[in-house]
Symmetry: C2
Subunit: 368 residues, 2 copies
């Protein structure tokens, strides 16, 4: 018998690090998990079959971008995001709030929602909690996010006001939601302020979401402040629900935050770096446009199991980058995604075998 959708099986703990399986209508997500980002319903330059081969088990798509183009209603008519983008595994959509609030000059926020101008054509739109849920239901991802307000992390007054809205909006999102095949995550806010974070974690825990995101991090605070926030919310969130740290995607952050109970991550970093010609390796970032690589017969990283490293040299990929050939972006994207997905698999394995702290220590001596 299949477990009910959205049950989260916690399989092991090692310290506060957790390994589990999150069940969704489109398959199991082993956690901790890193989700590649497919902003416009495509992980840039990477076909879905390559994502499968890379072992991706969750893909993120951006509600703001898809709402504007091609439109959530169009995607619904085309059978939803899974069918539309040809990815039959689990998908997560954000609420679009982060993108909208980033449009500083062209949005106005009130207690009911936020009005903003499209970055594509300047047209005027409005997101309310109810609207965002409607859009996310049209898109049809397995995991959907509540609309929240992400405040500057160090501004106490702003965070107090934003938290009131975030909590009211979380309740409105819950009420607006109609689909049983989607799990709505609540988002803990509160900046760097312990009491606000505690208040937020308790308030949202009471609403009994199937999962929780920790928002407002990796947006300007220090690493120490980020870690402290996770230390504060970890004991307050229900143990049997996955915790998602949005927009985080460096190996160092994986280790430090898995150690603080985080189960889910997403980040544009691997594919964005690839398009800028940078490759992630255990020896640090490699600039694939560097003339020093012109006759480098090694793969991007020795011992790497990805398609790019199995078949192509740094010299070739450097040539592709110099010649602005799409294949260069593809190969670098494949490699960088493999690097993060494989690191996360090894982190999970270390939690399952009780060797997480040792593995974290080993990896600390490497440069990323």
């Amino acid at each position: 018998m299949n477990p009910a959708p959205f049950t989260f099986d916690l399989l092991a703990r090692d310290g506060r690090a957790r390994a589990g399986v999150f069940h969704t209508p489109h398959g199991e997500i082993p956690t901790p998990v890193f989700a590649p980002v497919g902003t416009a319903a495509t992980v840039k330059a990477v076909p879905p079959r390559d994502l499968k081969e890379l072992g991706a088990t969750l893909v993120l798509a951006n509600t703001y971008h898809l709402f504007l183009r091609p439109g959530d209603e169009l995607i619904a008519r085309m059978g939803g995001l899974h069918a539309f983008m040809g990815w039959d595994g689990p998908i997560l959509t954000d609420s679009g709030g982060f993108q909208v609030f980033s449009l500083k000059e062209i949005r106005t926020i009130d207690d009911d929602g936020v009005t903003f101008k499209s970055h594509i054509d300047g047209s005027l739109h409005r997101f309310t909690p109810e609207k965002v849920i409607a859009v996310e239901e049209h898109l049809g991802a397995d995991l959907i996010m509540a609309l929240d307000e992400c405040a500057p992390p160090l501004d106490r007054a702003y965070n107090e006001q934003a938290l009131r809205r975030t909590h009211a909006w979380a309740e409105r999102c819950l009420r607006a939601k109609t689909r049983a095949d989607q799990a709505l995550f609540g988002i803990v806010q509160g900046g760097v302020f312990d009491d606000l974070r505690e208040q937020s974690a308790r308030f949202l825990a009471d609403l009994d979401f199937p999962g929780y995101a920790v928002g407002g991090l990796a947006v300007g605070e220090t690493k120490e402040q980020m870690h402290h926030v996770l230390d504060v919310v970890d004991p307050l969130l229900p143990e049997g629900k996955p915790r998602y740290l949005m927009g985080v995607g460096t190996v160092e952050d994986f280790f430090e935050t898995v150690a603080r109970g985080v189960d889910m991550f997403d980040c544009v970093l691997p594919t964005r770096l690839a398009r800028h010609g940078a490759a992630l390796t255990h020896g640090g970032r490699v600039n694939l446009r560097n003339s020093a690589l012109a006759e480098d017969a090694r793969p991007i990283e020795e011992g790497c199991a990805c398609y790019a490293c199995h078949h192509f040299t740094r010299a070739y990929i450097r040539h592709l980058m110099q010649a602005n050939e799409i294949l260069g972006l593809y190969l670098a994207s494949i490699h960088n995604l493999h690097f993060l997905l494989d690191t996360m698999r090894r982190i999970r394995e270390s939690v399952l075998t009780g060797t997480f702290t040792q593995f974290k220590h080993e990896m600390r001596n490497q440069a990323f």
Copy 2:
């Protein structure tokens, strides 16, 4: 026992259409064959494993471009073009002459060779027959082309002069050649003039090349003139050697020229069209940016066996094109290559089964 390299087994004729197998050090090429073009040592946007999956058996690379960037000597030091670009099947390089002669403002031709400026950085270079063979030997393709002069097809005086050079250069290329694992093709020139084409075919046939290209076509003459040139040279070229029509890649041209004894083709058309958002189908070209496709749930072409058509709708690919997503170029490239490669496979099958004329007639009623 493996046949010696570069033997050409003529398996069947149907009228003047031919089906055969051309043996090369990197594998067999079933003919007639269409070769995707990988100008800068990559078929644009298409990884080598996808080319294999598409059934490509020959890839063309451009000597002019690789000579300039990353340099033929660099590629030689990296183990040659096959290793460099991760394609272990047969490769063909052109002589670079066509590109150089196209640089009208920035090249000067004399009987010894041609001096030209790089389109990349304006640096000055010189190609002679000996230099081109040295470059092609550095690149290491299985099939290499002699340096020829491609004259405007209707200019009698120019063609007389160019033909003298082309023939002298063909002899010099043969003398300069040192590698036994490469087959040097002679190139028949002579514009639209029967006597010049006859003279060229006889002269080159006497030099006993392992294969022959018919040059100076698809560059401004009419289709009727192109067909007539092929009619003239067909009986004069050795039956046991493959004939290559350079730069031709439409389905109509495939049928009309296979019917006139052509065995090999290459063209940038399928990948270039893809980057411009056009897809080849049996019902004609489809503009993948067209708003009429916004909610078109069909594949690019019904019944097509390619990866793009098996997994993605026109609506999705149109969205990718609108959003300038690389995946759109990839999927359109895959489809267009499949379309031409598959058409050529079906042409070959029809020659083998003696149904070429019938198949040609059936396809004539379709729009491309």
